[in-house]
Amino acid sequence: GAGVSQSPSNKVTEKGKDVELRCDPISGHTALYWYRQRLGQGLEFLIYFQGNSAPDKSGLPSDRFSAERTGESVSTLTIQRTQQEDSAVYLCASSLKAGGADTQYFGPGTRLTVL
């Protein structure tokens, strides 16, 4: 079946603009995760959704970052008033259920460049 998809694959924006990144998880996966990966760095956990429960947003780096998920489907990560430090690859993953014990399936990522 289809894997996790993300769009756009690349996004170039000017400092101060808002951007919206989209993630389509694997159908039937109740958990969805967002990560940030700066060039040459590891994965930085941002936020996770589990079903209809309220997400834990404590991993988001600032109040310019927000994320939403409709039920157990599409999620969007929004970055307002982008800064150059936001340049990174944003990875989305989904898993059948919540928990670090469950295999996460990652999308190809969205490469964000803030000029």
Partner: protein
């Protein structure tokens, strides 16, 4: 949060066995240990997972000592295609329902396989 520590990089010749160790001194009782592999410009993919003792699958083995404060990923007879970054992830399997959840990836170990 159980933080993880891994070597930054490792080199190996083709055909050798490679062992990558991850330290997670503050691992909690409910935490599982999962290893992911990441190729350039791709999202990570699952390799193996364990809770204690030894786990083996078709691509790797995972050794976890009794105190669970570390784990070792073993790749038998590596080939050039095993050149990648390997991440150690520690997380629990609780479905909190409240959305309170965090994941900690290590910074990853860059494995370079030499012909």
């Amino acid at each position: 949060l159980a933080k993880t520590t891994q070597p930054i990089s490792m080199d190996s010749y083709e055909g050798q066995e490679v062992n990558i160790t991850c330290s997670h001194n503050n691992i909690a009782t409910n935490d599982y240990i999962t290893w992911y592999q990441q190729f350039p410009s791709q999202g990570p993919r699952f390799i193996i997972q364990g809770y204690k003792t030894k786990v083996t699958n078709e691509v790797a083995s995972l050794f976890i000592p009794a105190d669970r404060k570390s784990s070792t990923l073993s790749l038998p007879r590596v080939s050039l295609s095993d050149t990648a970054v390997y991440y150690c992830l520690v997380g629990d399997d609780r479905d909190s329902g409240a959305g309170s959840y965090q994941l900690t990836f290590g910074k990853g170990t860059k494995l370079s396989v030499i012909p």
